[in-house]
Symmetry: C2
Subunit: 291 residues, 2 copies
């Protein structure tokens, strides 16, 4: 047996007494892939050192308001892969998931249907309307929607506290008894992921652009249903086919249309005609119905 | 094609414009193994989050005097694997390498043959004697030896500055015209790698002990030869078959013997009989002979 194979066997064996079965499986799989990667590529000492330095920089770039390890996972497609893997358990009729991203806050401002999540109102209004239903077609009258997005310049409130009030671009809504929701916002813009850290340097070294296509984040919940974290992507945005974090899914691309619905205009405080995006969401019913 | 396969293909493709061929190869191999690992194990969102948190803690545990990312590489056998992989290029008659470890200082005290690297002298003396030769058998008269080790309690000078003077347990020697070297020290003791950080928590969760068998570190150099970083391991030490960092190699285990050589005793300032370890080292001649 080659020396490297004996070493790999020794490392695998060293984890043999791990009490937690799942942890043992995950660590052994990690060792197998890590070692195979180093052997296949005959990684040099200099390259190993560069990898150590890079991972150290990624860890050290993390602060209370920045998670560079997640950003690394994002640009390697691992965050999105994890989303897809966990969705494979889901009913295929449910709306597809995508990554949470770094800009979610645990307490979005509670708003009423028809309110504007855009408190600055410097751009053209965009109305979002949609309906929350279960995979069996029933409207989810107890559903809630947590929404957050960049403004028309590609910035979240937390990035530019001097330009946007806290909570701008965010809202937490209760749907109506028929599962419907509607609110006012402004069309989001594409924006770059942070490029001033080690992950940004990785993108530069590989000639990858850092942009994400314009999108609106949602977390949708209803009693007895699997919570869904997803985005909708604006169909007229650049970068739809080269999202820096690989989160675009065809089913999540939505298109603006011009609308002259006087009733909806009145409910959202806009004049006709206005632009609207329809966002219908289907949540998976859980086997054990808990509410 | 399954969704996960399309995602992996997209991520691989995103690195297609990397100007540096080797970087492109290494990143694509990394993406392939990372994604295969996640798919094979159906890693959950909770497990992904735990991995993110762990890597973040490892990076944040690094300071000017602590390198937790290297420690993680060590306990996963990756540091030793890199050593072996790069040695595969070497002449098989050369002495085997092992890991550098975290306690090397760039400037060991320059000492004369026969000096003691143990400045405290609280333990029984141990004499190290040996010879530095080339793979073709020629003594390397211009060779140098950088040596460092723990004391008889398992501590390096930098760990206990109140108990050991700076430079204790360390020495930089020029060999004699016949390639020979001899110096006095104290037998090193086994010691645990740092367990107060995330890597220590990993060992605890997997019921692995943190100990390294007793050893003495060497960096050996001679003009025209490949520099060698290695240890010798004390043959009577516990943990020889379960080194926490997988650095033991059979060829590097040495045994103490009792010696009554009056000449060597005089040269090292000890009384007969005394204990001695013989450490003969063979360096690989480089193709391009530079001196």
């Amino acid at each position: 047996m080659k020396n490297t194979e004996r070493l790999t066997a020794d490392v695998l064996s060293s984890f043999g007494s791990t009490p937690d079965d799942r942890l043992r499986t995950l660590l052994r799989g990690l060792v197998e892939h890590l070692h195979a990667y180093f052997v296949e590529n005959a990684v040099t000492g200099q390259e190993w050192q560069a990898a150590i330095d890079f991972l150290t920089q990624v860890g050290q770039a993390c602060t209370e308001v920045r998670q560079e390890v997640i950003l690394l996972s994002d640009v390697l497609g691992v965050s999105m892969l994890t989303e897809i893997l966990n969705e494979d358990l889901q009913d295929s009729h449910a709306t597809e998931a995508t990554v949470l991203g770094p800009f979610h806050l645990t307490d979005s401002p509670r708003r009423e249907l028809g309110d504007s999540i855009d408190e600055v109102m410097a751009g053209d209004p965009l109305i979002i309307e949609g309906r929350l239903t279960s995979t069996d077609g029933i409207p989810l009258s107890d559903g809630t929607i947590d929404v957050w997005q960049s403004d028309e310049n590609g910035f979240y409130d937390v990035q530019v506290p001097d330009l946007q009030p806290q909570g701008n671009g965010r809202g937490f809504f209760q749907v109506d008894p028929d599962g419907r929701f509607w609110f006012r916002t402004v069309a989001p813009a594409p924006y770059p992921i942070p490029t001033d850290g080690p992950v940004g340097r990785l993108l530069a070294a590989t000639k990858r652009h850092p942009f994400r296509p314009a999108h609106i984040h949602f977390i949708l919940s209803a009693p007895g249903h699997r919570q869904l974290t997803t985005h909708v992507f604006m169909g007229d945005s650049p970068y739809l086919d080269s999202d820096a974090v690989f989160a675009v899914r065809d089913s999540l691309v939505v298109h603006k249309s011009v609308c002259d619905d006087e009733d909806l205009a009145a409910k959202c405080g806009v004049a006709v005609p206005f632009e609207v995006c329809r966002v219908d969401v289907v949540l998976e019913r859980l086997e054990t119905n808990q509410s």
